[in-house]
């Protein structure tokens, strides 16, 4: 197992390197730079600015310098916020994004598992059809449609929950997180319900479940101790892609509900050509996706004795 983990990490390094290289040269290839203002500045100031950020060097030199800094854990200074490093910007936004993401993931896993299992155990009843219909709708409707509609109905018409931003004094409060978390979780709930339904139907038809029933175990014991354990495996291997989807979704969610998270910073930075912030966020998200995929694979191996990594 440790050897497997080491190998996975060794494979991840070239992947990250490819990402960094692609992102770096794409951003540098862009027409217009971070110091283009509406009013052109004197050439000398421009040159000084470029020199201060090391951007007067040839591009390959900048690239090597950037990698050198990265190895030491330095993501560089923000080019737009003169008094902030990229690390500061990420440190500000990350708690918000991570909280929303984790809550959405937990909600999706719990509700998706429950819905999917109920649908499978009550196959071809009203409950089953309801779950299937919900799953179809949830997969088709994107968060950027659900988000504004929820904000409009629950936030504005009904006035039950605030629809935008964080509490200026208390920061992340539950009432302000509910709508974003639900919006982000909805497509995942739909996908996980479908997955669970399919795998649970297959499991409860298997021989060992019939044996468990035949030996007189109670229905809850059969389901919770025997069926759920193996029915949950496809869900575990979906966790990797799910986390990637949540990270992408967070960009929209943070825009819709004006949350000061990383996704919003990313879009803003990309539009402002704040190279270093864009790079920092891309590297962070890519690493997160790779790590979460690894965790999901390890979890899968831990739950499934048939799978052994070595």
């Amino acid at each position: 197992m440790p050897a497997y983990i080491v190998r996975r990490i060794l494979v991840a390094i070239p992947t990250i390197l490819v990402i960094i290289t692609l992102a770096f040269f794409m951003m540098r290839g862009a027409p217009g730079g971070p110091f283009d203002l509406e009013r052109p500045m004197p050439e000398e100031i421009r040159q000084n600015l470029l020199a201060a950020y090391g951007m007067d060097q040839p591009v390959w030199k900048q690239y090597v310098d950037y990698l050198g800094g990265l190895v030491q854990g330095d993501l560089g200074p923000s080019l737009k916020f003169r008094d902030k490093d990229v690390a500061d910007i990420i440190a500000e936004g990350f708690p918000v994004s991570a909280t929303v993401g984790l809550l959405a993931m937990s909600l999706a896993v719990v509700i998706g598992t429950v819905f999917g299992s109920i649908a499978a155990l009550r196959q071809n009843t009203g409950a089953d059809y309801g779950v299937v219909a919900f799953a179809t709708v949830g997969i088709v409707i994107p968060p950027f449609v659900v988000g504004p509609i929820l904000a409009l109905t629950i936030g504005i018409y009904l006035g039950w929950l605030p629809s935008g931003g964080l509490d200026p004094r208390h920061g992340m409060t539950l009432d302000r997180l509910i709508l974003p978390v639900v919006t982000l979780a909805l497509p995942q709930i739909a996908i996980i319900s479908r997955l669970m339904r399919a795998s649970m139907i297959e499991v409860i038809r298997s021989n060992y479940i019939r044996t468990a029933r035949a030996k007189g175990l109670s229905a809850p014991a059969v389901i919770f101790k025997h069926a759920l354990r193996s029915a949950i495996l496809p869900l575990v291997s979906y966790l990797g892609p799910a986390s990637a989807a949540l990270l992408t979704g967070s960009i929209v969610i943070e825009q819709v509900f004006s949350l000061p998270g990383i996704g919003r910073q990313f879009v803003f930075a990309a539009l402002q050509r704040d190279y270093t912030v864009v790079m920092g966020v891309v590297i962070l998200y890519a690493s997160l996706i790779i790590i979460l995929n690894l965790v999901a694979d390890l979890l899968y191996a831990a739950l499934n004795p048939k799978v052994k990594y070595d």
Binding site: G29, V140, P142, F144, V145, I149, V252, Y285
Partner: protein
């Protein structure tokens, strides 16, 4: 099938069967037409395509004409503003039609781009095999783990919001699964007896590809194409929603939804109608895709 048929009837049916054999595609069509959701999706989609491409020419309002005295009017039959007007005073129904046309075009064109890259890549890897195959599929694996939407966002920022770039960028992102499907099919088919038989009979390589490989790969590819189109439409809308997609005076459903979300407190219809149109369109594609999958690949049923 009628079980209690008289011998003569049976004979006639056998004769019929002998006269015109039923190909896989005939079977698939019959199964597809029996699927109510898929047929409904197909009909509705035809209506939507007709509306999107012919509608703007026939509709009484021009999508870019500004009625200065009719800003943000709710849906009304007066002056035929069925969906109301937007913040600039343009007829929303006309704009939804034009936006739908753009979204459909992006969906189809970008999917074709992904189809071209994916089929070429996958077929080459599958056919050549060995080291080349391993290298090509490793590249696909690495690309799979990239957070692609970020690269599309960077692309849009770097090269400006060019409509052709949107097609290519989204297409270039979605080809990976296509390549995997085509490669798997090609490898499976390469070892099939009927391909061997054709080779033994001295049929040329090109004819084998045309007669045996392509028709057999086509099924899964067609299914995947119908399921990719809605994904691409979503991706474009996602970009437009963030303000990185199609630019004024052009518009897409994502653009309209984005504007509607901004104005929803005063003019909710500017959000509701584009959102509904997009949902219906996506439903159509998904129902058709699912129906096609069940029809072409009966193993899954």
């Amino acid at each position: 099938m009628v079980l209690t048929s008289t011998p003569s009837e049976k004979e006639r049916m056998l004769e019929d069967a002998a006269v015109k054999g039923r190909s896989l595609w005939d079977d698939a069509r019959t199964r597809l037409l029996r699927n109510k959701a898929a047929v409904a999706g197909l009909i509705l989609l035809c209506v939507l395509v007709f509306l999107a491409f012919i509608g703007p020419l026939l509709w009484v309002h021009d999508s870019s004409f500004i009625y200065r005295d009719r800003v943000q009017i709710g849906p009304t039959f007066e002056n035929l503003h069925l969906f109301g007007t937007d913040a600039q005073g343009r007829d929303l129904f006309a704009r939804v039609l034009v936006g739908l046309r753009m979204s459909l075009m992006v969906g189809v064109v970008a999917t074709m781009v992904s189809l071209a890259i994916g089929v070429l890549w996958g077929a080459t890897a599958g056919f050549v095999g060995g080291r080349v195959d391993q290298l090509m599929m490793r590249i696909v694996d690495v690309l799979y783990s990239l957070p692609f939407i970020f690269f599309v966002i960077i692309l849009m920022v770097v090269f400006g919001r060019n409509i052709i770039l949107i097609f290519v960028a989204i297409g270039a992102v979605e080809w990976l699964t296509m390549a995997r499907i085509v490669r798997g099919q090609t490898i499976a088919l390469k070892g099939m007896e009927f391909v061997e038989a054709a080779q033994a009979a001295g049929v040329s390589q090109f004819s084998i590809i045309r007669r045996h490989i392509v028709p057999n790969v086509l099924g899964p590819v067609v299914v995947y194409v119908t399921l990719t189109i809605p994904v691409v439409i979503l991706a474009e809308s996602f970009l437009s929603f963030l303000g990185l997609g199609v630019q004024e005076p052009l518009t897409s459903l994502g653009n309209l939804i984005s504007n509607g979300a901004r104005d929803m407190e005063i003019a909710p219809w500017t959000l509701i109608f584009p959102a509904l149109t997009m949902m219906i369109t996506l439903f159509c594609f998904n129902f058709i895709g699912d129906g096609l999958r069940d029809a072409i690949d009966p193993k899954d049923r």
